[in-house]
């Protein structure tokens, strides 16, 4: 496990600071231990300090309204657990639970803010860290919502399909997006993926369902 001194020396938050500038930061660190399964913080609580994981593994998750747990990430030593809510001044967007014995180092929010004011370098490090974290979240959201959109879209196609020669609803991609609760671009991508998989095809103004069974499975799995 890293000591407090090693933490400030190696953390990206304080990268670029001189040794004499790092020295006083060490004194700001508070150490805390958690047993396995113990909660570090809860979704919806106020964020008081920036938490660095010193040792152990922590599960970062959200609970859906129907009680399902969605694990967003597993944090490993040297990662921070709550920089997003800390810097937007809001409440914790996630919960965190120790998956084994865990030691954390904490720096009070006011102290972090003071450091950012005092050392612009720290502020720019923070921007860097936040940007990286945001990118990771965006990717996750894309993966999750893409699967769900696929599921909904599959259902919409099945519901609105007619036999060749019959007349039926003619839907634009924008219509499908509105029905699936998403953007046209997402539907476009989704249709393309289904086309690549050979599930559907296009013939001018017709969307042809080539593999009805596959579409049913997609619809049932992800809706």
């Amino acid at each position: 496990m890293k000591t407090k001194t090693e933490l400030v020396n190696t953390s990206v938050f304080f990268a670029g600071l001189k040794p004499e500038e790092l020295e006083p930061i060490i004194k700001l660190i508070i150490e805390k231990k958690y047993e396995r399964d113990e909660m570090l913080f809860f979704e919806g609580d106020a964020t008081e300090s920036l938490i660095f994981l010193a040792s152990g593994v922590v599960k970062i998750f959200k609970t859906s309204p129907d009680g399902k747990e969605q694990i967003l990430s597993i944090a490993h030593p040297e990662e921070t657990l709550n920089e997003l809510p800390l810097f937007n001044g809001g409440l914790n967007a996630t919960s965190a639970q120790a998956m084994m014995r865990v030691v954390v180092y904490m720096i009070n929010k006011r102290d972090i803010e003071m450091l950012m004011r005092k050392y612009p370098l720290v502020a720019s490090n923070v921007i860097h860290i936040l940007a990286k974290r945001t990118r990771r979240l965006v990717t996750l959201v894309e993966e999750l919502s893409f699967k769900r959109v696929n599921g909904r879209l599959a259902g919409i196609l099945l519901e609105n399909a007619v036999r060749e020669g019959q007349s039926g609803a003619r839907l634009t991609q924008r219509d499908m997006a509105a029905m699936a609760g998403t953007a046209r671009e997402v539907i476009s991508r989704s249709l393309k993926a289904m086309e690549d998989d050979g599930v559907i095809g296009f013939d001018k103004h017709k969307l042809i369902i080539k593999d009805r069974e596959a579409l049913k499975i997609i619809s049932q799995t992800y809706s």
Binding site: V162, R163, A169, K204
Partner: protein, 67 residues
């Protein structure tokens, strides 16, 4: 031969010309401040005009059929 034009809602179209620019068949033009599809033969229903239109004024609806 396939001849069917993207549907145009003249009330919604403000003649901004965005669709004209994206049509890879150069099949669209603006006349009297609204859009007209001039080359319906070449239109392959790619939907780019629909995608770019800010007013939902041009549409390429699809009939969904079982194979």
């Amino acid at each position: 031969m396939f001849t069917m034009k993207p549907e145009i809602d003249k009330d919604k179209c403000d003649g901004c010309g965005l669709c004209v620019g994206v049509c890879h068949e150069n099949g669209i033009m603006i006349a009297n401040k609204t859009v007209v599809v001039i080359d319906e033969v070449e239109c392959d229903w790619c939907g780019l005009c629909e995608a770019v239109c800010p007013n939902d004024a041009i549409r390429c609806p699809l009939l969904i059929v079982f194979a």
